[in-house]
Symmetry: C2
């Protein structure tokens, strides 16, 4: 047992609020009874405003990647032409799944650190007539980039009106605005351990009416991930297979907390925490990895400077209770990441930045005590639209 609770600043799982933790300790119930039915309905209905849809949502017991697989296998058939727009490791994964199930996948790769470009997508689609689906990542956890889904979806709709738009928003949805119906997006996938403040184990998937219709024609094999079974069972207050009940208890409580805070406040909090993180890391002398036009509001990636001993730095931070994430895949050792989603508070971000200041000072880096924290505070206040106060004691 640890002396203190670490500041868990990885991009998911996110730290659980106290009542969410308690919800995870509840005794089991019959998942074929009225109590579960009421909870399932609350979760599926409660998520709809965050998806920005009035269409049906399904809840499946898998990690987010299982949700991505569900998006593919439910809507597509082997041989279908698919454009996999990738801006990082999770975009690569999404395209890989489509390929494994026999889709004819064309990849469109952005340089890691950059968002996808609407014009490039349109151009590529022009050379791919009959494209059945375009795969997009909303928030690319591996690079700290957030794609402008509204803009990309509009371009896709204009070029290939019939192509389904499948979006991985595992680490984005719930933390930032999303308007699935308004943007014309067809399938959106999210995961319980991200903005929803719960443990991992559940993926939630919304599908547009035309995506639900596509499921009747799609021939990729599926059983456990068959969303029609989930939708039909949900209509009767059940899931087709025994669900991760304890995680559902937590998602239910997380949603209650989120509804009490309100979507606008949640989004503003994420905006402020992201701005504070960026300003703090920059003031500490780290170069941000992502293109500044498309910073993620749920995870920030910083470049590991040449010759910088990231392992020692990270070990020191960890010893002080700050848990960061390293780079993934080809970015291993090249970037580190700080997550700010779900239950995150500004104090947790300021705490993290102040710990990184201490660790930097310890390591002999040229850092002015308090300067990075001050930069983070100012950025957060600016994000909230509050003018920074005049500095006290300057004789004004």
């Amino acid at each position: 047992v640890d002396r203190f609770e670490p500041n868990l600043r990885i991009p998911g799982p996110t730290a659980l609020p106290p009542t969410v933790r308690t919800a995870g300790a509840r005794q089991m119930i019959n998942h074929r009874g009225p109590e579960f039915a009421a909870m399932l309905a609350r979760i599926l209905e409660g998520m709809k405003p965050f998806f920005g849809t009035t269409s049906d949502v399904a809840m499946i017991t898998t990690a987010g990647s299982g949700g991505l697989e569900a998006a593919i296998v439910n809507t597509l058939s082997p041989g279908d032409r698919v454009l996999g727009v990738s801006i990082g490791a999770f975009g690569d994964r999404f395209a890989k799944i489509a390929k494994i199930y026999g889709a004819e996948v064309t990849k469109l790769d952005a340089e890691w650190g950059y968002a996808a470009d609407a014009d490039e997508i349109r151009e590529r689609l022009r050379s791919l007539p009959g494209t059945k689906a375009v795969l997009l990542t909303h928030n690319e956890t591996s690079t700290g980039v957030m794609n402008p889904i509204a803009e990309l979806a509009a371009a896709i709709r204009a070029e290939t009106p019939d192509a389904l738009i499948l979006v991985d928003s595992v680490s984005g949805l719930g933390a930032v605005p999303f308007d699935m119906d308004g943007w014309g997006v067809d399938v959106v996938v999210t995961g319980s351990q991200k903005a929803w403040m719960a443990a991992p184990g559940l993926a939630m998937i919304a599908a547009s009416p035309r995506a639900w219709a596509a499921m009747e024609r799609a021939t990729m094999p599926r059983f456990y991930l068959d969303l029609r079974e989930h939708r039909d069972a949900a209509a009767g207050g059940e899931t087709p297979f025994t669900p991760a009940i304890a995680v559902a208890f937590q998602v239910d409580e997380g949603l209650r907390i989120m509804q009490a805070e309100g979507a606008a406040n949640i989004f503003a909090r994420h905006e402020a925490c992201a701005a504070a993180t960026r300003a703090g890391l920059a003031a500490l002398g780290f170069e941000l990895f992502a293109d500044e036009r498309h910073y993620s509001r749920t995870v920030t990636a910083a470049t590991v400077p040449d010759g910088f001993d990231w392992k020692a730095f990270n070990g020191e931070a960890k010893g002080r209770g700050l848990v960061l994430a390293g780079g993934q895949g080809k970015l291993t050792g090249k970037i580190f990441r700080l997550g700010h989603l779900g239950s995150v508070t500004l104090e947790e971000i300021l705490g993290a930045i102040s710990t990184l200041e201490v660790v930097s000072l310890q390591g002999g880096r040229a850092v002015e005590p308090g300067a990075a924290v001050a930069a983070a505070q100012r950025a957060a206040l600016a994000a909230y639209g509050i003018a920074a106060l005049a500095v006290a004691g300057t004789g004004a």
Copy 2:
């Protein structure tokens, strides 16, 4: 909030012991860190003796049915000849999955309530040369029948030595002896919410060396359920996708409790609880559904008598805190089921039987107060090898 905790006597999810509940309330940790790695290793190693194997076990974030799908798609290819031996709803499901993924499935159906017959399997296999796999259900939750896997596996091995034997032991493993290596079984699937006393959300799958080898040749499409990815990641202390961490905390604690009790005691407890349940229900005038040669030791099914108002009876029991399960599929309304697996105690079973006595008396059934409880007590003592005491006060 309820006044009391119900006696959850469905065949899974099973009631969580206090420390397992507490484990579900733990704060999240980094699933790519040393604490998770140590826990994953404890779980995978700790399960091996219950599987009866020294081969690798994988842990995936799905319901048991996701585990069944993993057993199929990892070891087989479209067009493969498969014999699906079914003794109930879950046997049907196993065969259905194989069919969906393109296997050439022959069904061998036992009458529901009966176990599979080794001679029938051998005979059927004789007419199906080149059979690549035989699907078996260890404990058929829908009928309360437990198949004699050792005997069935021996018959299959004798007739078609090269066929893989895939076993659904979602609701059996951990509660009764299993000797995967000794019996020559190739893949065994279990689920966290059954004997393991944890919440649902994790399936554990063991594969024999020849099953692991088959995975290299199998061509059914798979990504999320690819067991090779899970095995390779586990070697590095990780899972390929974010795991249901809170459920893993619970399985870890459940295993600790099970190891403290010891396998022999666990099996004897299940034997005694099953015997008590059968004797109690029989003394209450219910006919047991399963063939007496193959009663399940984790769930007992009783036939709903002609003209008996099961709904009213069940509602009354529920009002008194006893949660039973009805029939599934074609047995809806025809049987009811009482689960006795995982953390189950003899007192919970005696409590359930005594509540059913009260409900029976209330309903005007011809039942002698205390008689069913006495029958259950005697059966449990006999199962434990303890001679029932002479009745006190009879003037001896």
